[in-house]
Amino acid sequence: MDLSMLWYLVPSVVMLACGVYGFVTRKNLIAILISLELILNSADLNFVVFNRYLFPDMMEGMVFTLFSIAIAAAETAVAIAIIINVYRAVGATDINIVNKMKH
């Protein structure tokens, strides 16, 4: 049995799907951020897998993933700062609080 590329891609897709599901259904802002991490992670995994299987003699994908992790960290940091800010302002991190502006 060969572990071909798709074997690795399938979990990645599942991760993505879970991330989307989580984003759409979770009620808490931090939980949503957690879901987002799943999607980012899925993208990273894709890069790595493609790099390994398709272009094994190069390392663009890996480097991209490295930077991507850093970017994810930065995103998370800013997002968490904002969430905390909201928590300070309204005392909750519930998604249903931040829907006042609409239409």
Partner: protein, 647 residues
């Protein structure tokens, strides 16, 4: 002949119009009146000079080998539609236009003079003279037109002058509506005229009368056998052009405006609605006569329309109460007479009918005499109205004692129109009847009957005004004869009516310029005289003294009388068509359609946009998760659709 005179003939009236129209407000009544009369007098003099030169100078310019020529004194380009279709403004001189110059300027001058007295106390005196000048200009331009388009131009101008003059007393709603009616009805007829010109000029590629009438056969050829609904294009053209004439000359069924037009000042009625403008239709047919001859169906149409109108108008005239209306219907009837006369004047032998040209000459002759005596009658009526301040003969009666001059002149007019020898009407009517009998006995007999009716209703009118029963109100307001400004024209016209019959008209005016020797047809003359005398006798019996006969006759055929009194309900029919069908039906529904359907569609589009905007506002729900759902599904959908569509 140079071009100075003809240009002056046209220029003086138009200059008068502009001077009086623009400067009128700064002038006194007297200045304006004098200016107007002087202007018209000058024009009349010039027109006489031109006409006399034409008829009697014998210059080779005008008469070649005894044949009178058609001469264009000048003809300048006014507007060039295409290379060939060029509209000119010019001055044609031929027997009929010369005759018309005389008629128009004479009557116009008389009316100018008469109005000075008649309109003395009316506001807008200056304006009135301006309009009279405008009318004179237009009518002169019409008769001297060298081409059909010029004629159409002035045709419209006389229409508008008529509109302005009928509506002169513009504060009276009846005058306003009468003027509107006159304009619109004639305008409708002019539509026919215009389409006729369109058709004719398209095929003949010319507007010019001389080109058209000198070789009518080639015009017929140029249509190349084009037909529409079974009639040749030329027939259509000529009939449509005649429709224009029907409008102006108040032929059935376009006659309804003329009786109402009597709302205008009486001198105006005398000038426009008796002597000049209303005979424009006759003049038109005479002008285009050779073309009518090549399509004789159109000439038959003219005859039939004329015959029906003549009888109808005569019958209606017998029942009217308003003296001006009686005269109006009488005018319609007399013009119809001329139409019939032209209609029967075939110029080429078909199926045994000989060419005579008599009808043409007689029609023109009657046009001339009728202009004189009808103007006389109207001016006389004006004097009466001036005296008793009413149009209605029930307010009159027994006036012969109070207004001798008016009485006498009016009587001359009545005798003339009734066709009693030696008055002018006798001669012209006799020639016309002769022409009709020559064509077909039916036309002759029919029109003789109309002539009898004419004599009857005219003398009915005469007796009711001057005899019958004296109105008791005269005790308070004693009627008297008109001032000299009004009497002079009456006397002059009466004199003309007495002697005009002896003019050797056939020597002067014929269809082809060759002289025609008038001779009285004894049988016809005797018949018509007899009929006329009998009719006068009947009128005398019935109306000379107040008696029961009129009422009895009325009760004998009450339905007929009422119908005739209501002019056989033509106005009501028109009212129904215009108000109910065109206004109420077409216009209102179109206006509704515009507001609700077209406009509604535009507003509907705006409404739909607004509604869509509201309908999709749920998309912007304020929930981040919904946003992301849209985002993600949008991306997926984009991919999926593209995938399915492209691969």
């Amino acid at each position: 002949m140079g071009i100075t005179l003809p240009i002056l003939i046209l220029a003086i009236p138009v200059a008068m119009f502009l001077i009086l129209g623009i400067g009128g407000v700064f002038m006194s009544r007297k200045t304006a009146g004098v200016l107007g009369i002087l202007g018209m007098g000058t024009t009349m003099t010039l027109a006489y000079i031109v006409a006399f030169t034409y008829f009697f100078s014998g210059s080779p310019e005008f008469i070649v080998e005894g044949v009178r020529q058609q001469v264009q004194l000048f003809d300048v380009t006014w507007l060039a539609f295409t290379q060939k279709l060029v509209v000119n403004i010019g001055f044609i001189l031929d027997p009929i236009s010369a005759m018309m110059l005389v008629v128009i300027t004479t009557i116009s001058f008389m009316v100018h003079l008469y109005s000075w007295g008649y309109m003395e106390h009316e506001p807008g005196f200056q304006r009135y003279y301006a309009f009279l000048s405008l009318f004179s200009f237009s009518m002169l331009g019409l008769v001297v037109a060298t081409n059909i388009f010029q004629m159409y131009i002035f045709w419209e101008l006389v229409g508008v002058s008529s509109y302005l003059l009928i509506g002169f007393f513009y504060k009276l709603p009846s005058a306003v509506s009468a003027s509107k009616k006159a304009f619109i009805v004639t305008r409708f007829a002019d539509l026919g005229f215009l389409i006729g010109i369109l058709v004719l000029s398209y095929y003949s590629e010319s507007f010019n009368f001389i080109t058209l009438t000198h070789n009518p056969e080639s015009v017929l050829m140029s249509t190349g056998g084009a037909t529409f609904m079974g009639c040749s294009a030329l027939t259509w053209a000529m009939v449509l052009i005649f429709v224009g004439g029907m409008g102006k000359s108040a032929m059935m069924p376009l006659h309804i405006w003329l009786p109402d037009a009597m709302e205008g000042p009486t001198p105006v009625s005398a000038l426009i609605h008796a002597a000049t403008m209303v005979v424009a239709g006759v003049y038109l047919v005479a002008r285009m006569f050779p073309l009518y001859c090549v399509v004789d169906a159109s000439l038959t149409f003219v005859t039939c329309v004329g015959a029906i109108t003549a009888f109808y108008a005569a019958v209606v005239a017998c029942t009217q109460l308003d003296i001006k209306r009686v005269l109006a219907f009488s005018t319609i009837s007399q013009i119809a007479f001329m139409m019939v006369s032209l209609g029967v004047a075939y110029d080429r032998p078909i199926e045994g009918i000989h060419y005579t040209g008599l009808g043409y000459m007689a029609g023109m002759f009657h046009l001339f005499t009728h202009a004189m005596f009808k103007a006389l009658l109207f001016l006389g009526a004006g004097a009466l109205i001036h005296a008793v301040h009413s149009n209605n003969y029930t307010k009159m009666g027994g006036l012969r004692k109070y207004m001798p001059i008016t009485h006498l002149t009016f009587l001359i007019g009545c005798l003339a129109i009734a066709g009693i020898w030696p008055f002018s009407g006798f001669f012209s009517k006799d020639e016309m009847l002769a022409a009709m009998f020559a064509n077909h006995w039916f036309w002759g007999a029919w029109m003789t009957m109309v002539a009898g009716l004419t004599a009857f209703y005219m003398f009915r009118l005469y007796y009711l005004i001057f005899w019958w029963d004296e109105n008791p109100e005269y005790a308070e307001h004693r009627p008297h004869d008109a001032p000299w400004q009004m009497s002079v024209p009456l006397i002059f016209l009466a004199a003309v009516s007495c002697v005009a019959g002896f003019i050797p008209f056939g020597e002067l005016v014929t269809w082809n310029g060759e002289p025609y020797h008038i001779h009285i047809e004894g049988a016809v003359a005797a018949t018509s005289l007899t009929v006329a005398v009998l009719a006068i006798a009947l009128a005398t019996v019935m109306y000379r003294k107040k008696n029961e006969w009129p009422a009895r006759v009325k009760n004998m055929w009450p339905g007929l009388w009422t119908a005739a009194y209501h002019r056989f309900y033509w106005d009501e029919i028109y009212m129904f068509i215009t108000h109910k069908i065109i206004f109420g039906g077409i216009c209102r529904s179109i206006a509704w359609f515009d507001r609700h359907v077209i406009d509604g569609a535009m507003n509907g589009m705006a409404w739909i946009t607004q509604k869509t905007s509201f309908a999709i506002r749920g998309m912007q729900s304020g929930q981040i998760q919904a946003y992301v759902l849209w985002y993600f599904l949008g991306a997926l959908l984009l991919a999926a659709v593209t995938w399915l569509a492209l691969i």
